[in-house]
Each structure stands twice: as C-alpha cells, then as structure tokens.
C-alpha cells in the first residue's frame, strides 16, 4: 500500500520514465538539429512528429489511468476532452492564419467565408490571444467534466452505466461538431495552420520545440498525477475504487473526490489534445469518435493500469505497433489490435507492467 508514497528517486519505474522523458526532451532536438541529415543518428522530421504524437497519446493515457486505474471510473469518452482541447488550440491557430487564408479575409477563417458568414460568432472572440486560448484549452474540458461529473456522480451513476454515458456524450459531441452551423468547420474541422506564437509550424525548429514541450508537459502531468495518488486524497480515491459504499459510510464525500479527479483528468486530456493539434496539423470531428476513446482504454490496459507510467508505455507501444502495421501490413492491424484486446484482458489483467516482477519495480 505504501508503494505510491515513496519519493520519486525510490520509485524505479517512475524514475526511469522521467529519465526517458528528459532524454527525449534533450536528445530529440540534438539528433534532429545538430546531427547532419546523412548520419544514421539523424532524426527525420517524420520520426520527430511521431514521437511528439506518441507523447500526446501517452498524456491522454495518463489521464485515463488516473481515473480508471486509481478511481475505478472507466471513461469511454476521454477522446471528447482531448478533442475539445485540440479544438481550442485549433481555434487559436485558425485566428493566427489571418489574411493568409485562401479567401484572404483578415478575420474570418476560410470555412466561415465559404458559408457566407459575415462576422465571427461570439464563441470565437478572444481566440486570437494565446493566453485566452490557453485558458480555454483547460477550462472547456474542465467545464464539461464538471457538468457531466456533477450530474453523474451526484446521482451515483457508476460502473458500466457511467461508461456508456461517457460514450454517448462523446458520440453526441461528434454528431454536433459534424454540423456546419456549429461554427467549427463541420466535417473538415480545422487545418492549414500557419504559425504558433509567431513561429512557423512547418519549420523543423518549431516542431522540435513542440516535441520538447510535449515531453515536459508529459513529465509534469506524470508528477502531478503521482503527487495526487501519493497524497492522502489519493488514498481515499483508491478506497473509492475498491469499496465505494464503505468509503462513503466512513464519512468521505465520495462524489467530491470523484468529481475533482475527473476534472483534473479532463484537463490533462485537453492539454494533450492542444499539444497534439499543432503537431499533426489537423483537427476534425472524427477525433470524437467513440472508438478513439476505447482505444485509449486499451493502451492503458495493455500498459498496466494503476501505475501511470505503465499507461504511458502502453500508449507508445500500441501506437508504435499501429504505425508499423498500418504501414507494412494494413490488413493485419485490426486483427492484431482485436487480439491484443482479448489477450490482454484474458491473460494480462495487470498489463505489461504485471509481467515485470514487483521486486524490480520497487525494492
């Protein structure tokens, strides 16, 4: 039980994870910028983007692991928070395009000109300022989590019901964002971004900085999550996972604990989405698709839930496998992913981290 109360230096897995992230944050810029293009050690822009993407996924997996692994809330709608953060970033990036769009309108994004809109809708105001967009990337997912969580936890919707509700929520959002008159670009979403804070997104230098920033964000999220689970509140949260009613009878306000950890998790997911969008260069409603949320759960299950770094490792491994298979053997990918779901749940209930002997993870 004390496993999570150790300092980070004693926690081998967590320490290794942080060391890896530090290496990524430092090595990626060096290998891409300083090593000449011909060298075998050179990191291509493609690989760079992949690493950045994987780390965003790892952040999302961390968010899911925090609530699923430690609090027993299986959210099948975390892609919604991820996408909302992404859309907030996308709105900022769209406003940055300014008069460089195809239609050359100084204020309106192309798709609004295309739809014959005359002025910006009210919810687009302020997104030309980075600090405002930054606040929205956290606040919008948090607000959704607050409303949904408040309603759900207060009326004690739990277990499978909650999972299906989160899935329906994400599905409803997807349908809504597909509508053109929502003002979020409909089917096509946002793309053709130009620059972020004045730096050109197509420059390798900007991309390298984004990858490093993602590594830092992932490390900070990990430390924050770890701090939460190691705290007194973290023990209550684990108690809720193991015996919700008993925790309630002991006098803890179960709903509040669940609500706050749910909101925190949504914010991490939103931040991951916000970092993801400038790196992949597009955000559209299919990001809300229920299957995306379920895939996140699988990353966590594969890595091993309730370890945080295991979830991050699962995200990177599964996505690396996905990149590999969809490139080399596209037919096989869904078979492999499907089989992975089945085998992991049947034979590895603690994920890949369950394979690592406990003594190695912590002495």
């Amino acid at each position: 039980m004390n496993e999570d109360r150790r300092s980070i230096v004693e926690d081998r897995g967590g320490f290794a994870f942080l060391a890896l992230l530090a290496a990524a944050a430092i090595l990626v810029p060096v290998l891409n910028r300083a090593v000449p293009a011909g060298s075998p050690l050179h990191l291509s822009t493609y690989a760079l983007t992949l690493i950045g993407k994987y780390m965003c996924y790892a952040m999302l997996a961390l968010a899911v692991d925090l609530i699923w692994g430690y609090c027993g809330i299986l959210s099948l709608g975390h892609a919604a928070f991820f996408s909302l953060g992404g859309y907030a970033m996308g709105m900022y990036l769209m406003r940055q395009i300014g008069p460089r769009g195809v239609y050359g309108d100084p204020v309106l994004p192309d798709f609004m000109v295309f739809l014959n809109w005359k002025s910006l809708p009210w919810f687009w105001l302020g997104f030309d300022r980075f600090w405002f967009a930054l606040a929205m990337m956290a606040l919008v997912p948090a607000l959704l989590a607050l409303i949904f969580g408040w309603l759900a936890f207060r009326s004690r919707v739990t277990g499978v019901y909650l999972s299906i509700m989160t899935q329906a929520l994400s599905y409803a959002l997807m349908l809504a964002f597909f509508r053109n008159d929502m003002g979020f670009g409909g089917n096509n979403g946002f793309t053709d971004f130009k620059d972020l804070l004045g730096f050109d997104l197509h420059e390798d230098g900007t991309r390298v900085a984004l990858v490093s920033a993602t590594a830092v964000a992932l490390a900070l999220s990990f430390l924050a999550c770890r701090a939460i689970v190691a705290s007194r509140a973290g023990r209550v949260i684990r108690a809720i996972r193991d015996a919700e009613s008993r925790t309630r009878f002991l006098g803890y306000r179960v709903e509040s604990y669940k609500l706050w950890i749910f909101i925190f998790s949504a914010v991490i997911a939103g931040a991951a989405g916000a970092l993801y969008v400038p790196q992949v260069g597009i955000i559209n409603p299919s990001e809300f698709a229920p299957i995306n949320s379920i895939e996140v759960v699988i990353w966590v299950a594969v890595g091993g839930r309730g370890t945080l770094y295991g979830a991050a490792a699962g995200a990177v491994l599964v996505n690396y496998a996905k990149t590999f298979f969809t490139g080399a053997l596209p037919e096989v990918w869904l078979y492999a992913l499907g089989a992975l779901f089945v085998l992991v749940t049947l034979f590895l209930p603690r994920g890949l981290m369950g394979l690592v002997p406990a003594g190695v993870r912590a002495e």
């Binding site: 299986l74 949904f148 309603l151 759900a152 207060r154 009326s155 004690r156 919707v157 739990t158 277990g159 499978v160 019901y161 999972s163 299906i164 509700m165 899935q167 329906a168 929520l169 599905y171 409803a172 349908l175 809504a176 597909f178 509508r179 229920p290 299957i291 379920i294 759960v297 699988i298 299950a301 037919e331 990918w333 869904l334 078979y335 992913l337 499907g338 089989a339 992975l340 779901f341 089945v342 992991v344 749940t345 049947l346 209930p349």
Partner: protein, 559 residues
C-alpha cells in the same frame, strides 16, 4: 409501364394461342366465330387508313362498340401516335416507339400483340389525329378503363380523366358513378363531379359541392377552394356569393384539420417504425447485457454478420429474392447465434463478474469481426435487394401513405419480441435462463447446468442480433461498419428501458423513436438525435436504473 403491359399480355396471348393450336390439333376445326370477329376488327382498323377525321371518329366509336379484346391497345396506340399502316401491304401496325431519333420502327401486330419485325420510317404511314379526334379517343379509352374489372385500373382512369374534364368525360363519370361499387373509385368520381359542380351557376348545388369537398384531401381540392376566397387586386372578392365564400373557408379549415391529423398519424408511424428498429437492435442486447450483465461491444458486429448472411443467402438463391429473405432469418439466427456461443465459450465465460473487462475483450472481438468481413467481402458496401412485397406504399388517402417496408419492420419487431417473450416465459430454456440470472448458486443446486445455460443465453441474444441484421440489410447499406452505427443506440435503449427488463427495452425503444421523430421537423435529423442523447444522459442521472428498474435480489447481481 405500357411496355410491361404489352409484355404480359404478350405472354397471355402466347399461351392462349398455344391453347388454340391444341384445340385445333384435337378438334381439327378452327373456331369460326372468333376468326370472323378478328377479321372484322382488322378490317375496321384498316378503314382508318384513308378515312377523313370525322370518319375516323365514327370508326373509333364503332370499334369501341365491338368489345373486341384488342380494341383498347389499338386505341391507346392511336392516341399516342403509334398507329401506322405499312405502305407495301397496307396492313395496320402498332409501333413500339415512334421516337424521332429512330430510323426504323419496331412493329407489333395489333391482333396478336406480338413482335412483327421492323420497318424503315418511310415504309410506313402514320394514321394522323387531331385535337377533336384525340378527345374522342381519350374518352373511348377512359370508358374502357372505367369498365375494367380491376378497381386499380378504374381509379387510375378516374384520376386521368380528372386532369382534363369536358362534357363527354363528365357524362362518362356521372354514368359510372351510378354503377360503381368500389368505395375508393366512387369517392374519386365524387370529387371530380363536385369540382365540376363548383363551376356551375346553381347556388344550391355549389354549396352541396363544397360540403362534399370538405372531406377530400387532394391538394387540387384545397387549391380550388382557396381560389374561391381569394381577393382580386382591387380588394374585391373574386367570388361574389358570400355564402359560398364562407362555406369554402369552413371547408378549407376542415381539410386542414384533417391533414394535420393525418400528418400527426404519419409522424407517429414513422416514430414507431424508427423505434421498432431501435427495439430490434437493442433486444438482443437486452438479453446479453440485461439478463447476463455482459457488456457485449461486439453486438453490432453480430448484427453485421446477420446482414451479410442475408447477402450470401440472396447470392445463393438468385431469382428468389422474396423467399431468400425468409430463409435468411433462420440462417442469420444460426450464424450469429453460433458466433455468440463460440464467443461465450472462448472468451466471455472467463470474464463473468468483470463487466469492464468484458467490454474491452468484446470490443477486440468486434474489431476482428469487422476486419474478417473486410477480408472476405471487401470493404465496400454490398447491396441486398428488397423483395417486391416489401417495396411500395399503402395509400390510405391523399394525405396518408405508409411504406410497406416500415410496416414490415414494425410487424417483424413485434413478432421477434413475442417469440422471445414466449421463449423466456414458456420454455424450459427460458426457465433456466431466468433461474440462473436470478440466483446462480441456487439454480446450480437444483441441477441446472449453468454453464450451458450461459452459453445458450448468450447464443440466444446473439442470434436475435443476427435476425435484427436481416432487417437492417433492408434499411441501410450492408458494410463492415454497419454494426458500429447502431451499437450506441442499442446500449442507450437498454439502459433507458431499465436493464434486465424486456418490456422496458420495448417501451424505451419505441418512445425514443417517437420523440426523435417528433423533434425532427423542428431541429433537423442530426440535432434531434443529439437532443435525444442529451435527454437520455439527463434521464439516467435522474433515474440511474432506467424506466423500469429491477427490484429485489436480481437487482444486486447486475452492474
């Protein structure tokens, strides 16, 4: 349409000729009377060739008086400018099409109605018509159709006649009204005659006509009544008689009320049929999720298997689309049910009591099944044909028409539901299923083989998903993504209705369909769906156990 008529009558003629040949062979004597009637018919037709227009009218009248079975087709062809005489032998022929782009025309013998070769355009003389003659021809054809034995033909003829009324056709309608027995045709004639009376000068008969029209829902009727209460540009009424105006306004209000009523019924029916689809896709889940507590994310893919089974059965039975659907229902049940039993035996049984893990594992299965279908059938959608008896509409009146496929869905859902209820309540298997779901340990102690019951229960739910797939194959594209489109809806229905309660699923699904359909005119299809989803999310917050929560000991077993 006309081509089809020709083709079918061709077939009849051919068989009757065969019969005649047989008769000749057996009896050895040709039927003298029939022979001469045919000759007279041909001779009369031949007279058309050189007749003046007034003479042609007389010939047409004479022809329609003979009752010869081929008169109608000859007159129809004449009306369409498809009656020609061949220059070489001065014989009269019907041509299949006289389209200007054709250089040679295909001929049809007016007596046998069989193909009679073709001829270049300049080898043929058209038998010309003028407006007056065409009117006579129209009346003659209408008279034929009005006295047809088939009410549908009579109805079509009345509709046709109503489009352009003149004294002759009005007289025809009056005459027919006296002897008509079919209520639909009679009402249609009534409408026509009332419209005519409205143009008359007799005040009493005009008011009667308006009173009669107040019950008619045709758009023409409403337009005609609306024209009675219009004002002209200087503000004065077009219609002078105030009584008539008032009556017309009342009649229009009555018509509008009825139209609103019927469109309400239509919306309700659409909602009911949409709800039936929801119930159908959710009902299998109500078994696996509701009774067994297993979150089967592969439920949609089991439906997809059912839909593909329909496709395969149809491929195996070309030319028997109607029968193939009936064969597909048990086939889909077996295929999907078999898949379900395998799924239960190999995966799900290791995960009982861990619903979230079941969710993940079955989701994996769903991915594998999707890819399997892609590998076997390709990623493209497959088209499943709709049998003839399921297409078309049932026309109640001018304002209300219900499509057959929607009606079949409602009936089908009710049937499946009834059978399922019967299985659960009246069979040994149903008893076992209920016993195991309520108290596994006690059921085992009483000698129920709970393992087998689990497998069969899951198979039953999966099989019903397959049967739902047969229905879906008639409604949407059959493709690898068929199941995904419905999985969320079906979960929502089950959760809304209350887990473990079949009646809850039924009522939940139907009311979701109706609410969706009621919202659609105001919000649009997508927004209506979103609103229903949000309403459901809110509802579950209020009543976490659905509309009809399980009570008692069984409630603790689920979730």
């Amino acid at each position: 349409m006309r081509q089809d008529e020709l083709r079918t009558s061709n077939f009849e003629v051919r068989s009757s000729w065969l019969l005649a040949l047989l008769l000749v062979a057996v009896v050895g004597v040709p039927h003298a009377g029939a022979q001469s009637a045919d000759e007279r018919f041909l001779a009369t037709l031949g007279e058309l060739r050189e007749a003046s227009f007034p003479d042609k009218e007389a010939i047409v009248e004479r022809l329609s008086g003979t009752n010869h079975p081929r008169v109608r087709s000859a007159l129809t062809a004449f009306l369409d400018d498809r009656l020609y005489s061949r220059v070489s032998d001065q014989k009269i022929f019907i041509v299949k099409s006289s389209d200007d782009s054709l250089s040679s025309l295909e001929l049809i013998d007016p007596l046998s109605l069989q193909d009679a070769g073709s001829s270049a355009r300049d080898g043929l003389d058209k038998i010309g018509t003028n407006n007056r003659l065409r009117k006579v021809l129209k009346t003659a054809v209408a008279r034929f159709d009005l006295s047809s034995a088939d009410p549908a033909v009579r109805l079509a003829a009345v509709t046709e006649v109503l489009r352009s009324l003149d004294d002759a056709t009005i007289a025809l309608l009056r005459q027919r009204f006296g002897v008509e027995t079919d209520a639909g045709v009679k009402a249609e004639i009534d409408t026509g005659l009332a419209l005519v009376a409205l143009d008359g000068s007799d005040r009493k008969s005009r008011l009667d006509a308006i009173a009669a029209l107040a019950r008619k829902l045709r758009p023409e009727v409403r337009n005609r009544l609306a024209s009675l209460i219009e004002t002209s540009s200087d503000g004065s009424f077009v219609e002078q008689d105030e009584g008539v105006r008032r009556a017309a306004a009342d009649a229009m209000r009555s018509i509008d009320r009825w139209r609103t009523f019927y469109s309400g019924i239509e919306t309700l029916f659409f909602g009911l049929s949409l709800g039936s689809v929801l119930v159908l896709v959710a009902i299998g889940l109500a078994i696996t999720f509701g009774v067994m507590g297993v979150i089967n994310m592969a439920h949609g893919e089991l439906m997809m298997l059912g839909a593909y089974t329909t496709y395969v059965v149809q491929l195996a039975m070309p030319g028997h689309i109607g029968v193939s659907i009936l064969v597909a229902i048990p086939a889909a049940f077996l295929v999907a049910g078999g898949a379900g039993v395998i799924l239960e035996r190999t995966i799900i049984r290791f995960l009982y009591g861990r619903p979230l893990e079941t969710l993940l594992a079955t989701f994996g299965v769903s991915l594998v099944l999707q890819q399997l279908v892609r590998s076997v059938f390709s990623a493209n959608n497959r088209s499943v044909e709709t049998p003839a008896f399921m297409s078309g509409t049932l026309q109640f009146n001018e304002a209300l028409a219900l499509t057959y496929n929607r009606m079949y869905i409602v009936v089908f859902t009710l049937t499946v539901f009834a059978i399922l209820l019967a299985v659960l309540k009246r069979t040994r298997l149903g008893l076992d299923i209920r016993a195991v779901s309520q108290n596994r340990a006690m059921a085992r102690a009483m000698g129920v083989r709970s393992e087998w019951v689990d497998a069969l229960t899951f198979g039953l739910g999966a099989g019903i998903a397959g049967v739902a797939g047969v229905a879906l194959s008639q409604l949407t594209n059959v493709g690898p993504n068929l199941g995904q489109a419905y999985i969320i809806d079906s979960f929502m229905v089950v959760v809304f209705g209350g887990v473990g309660n079949l009646w809850g699923t039924m009522i939940g699904g139907l009311s979701m369909g109706i609410v969706n359909q009621l919202l659609e005119p105001y919000a649009g299809a997508v927004l209506a769906k979103i609103l229903v989803l949000i309403a459901l999310i809110m509802f579950i917050q209020r009543r976490p156990r659905g509309l009809f929560p399980q009570t008692g000991r069984a409630a603790e077993g689920v979730s």
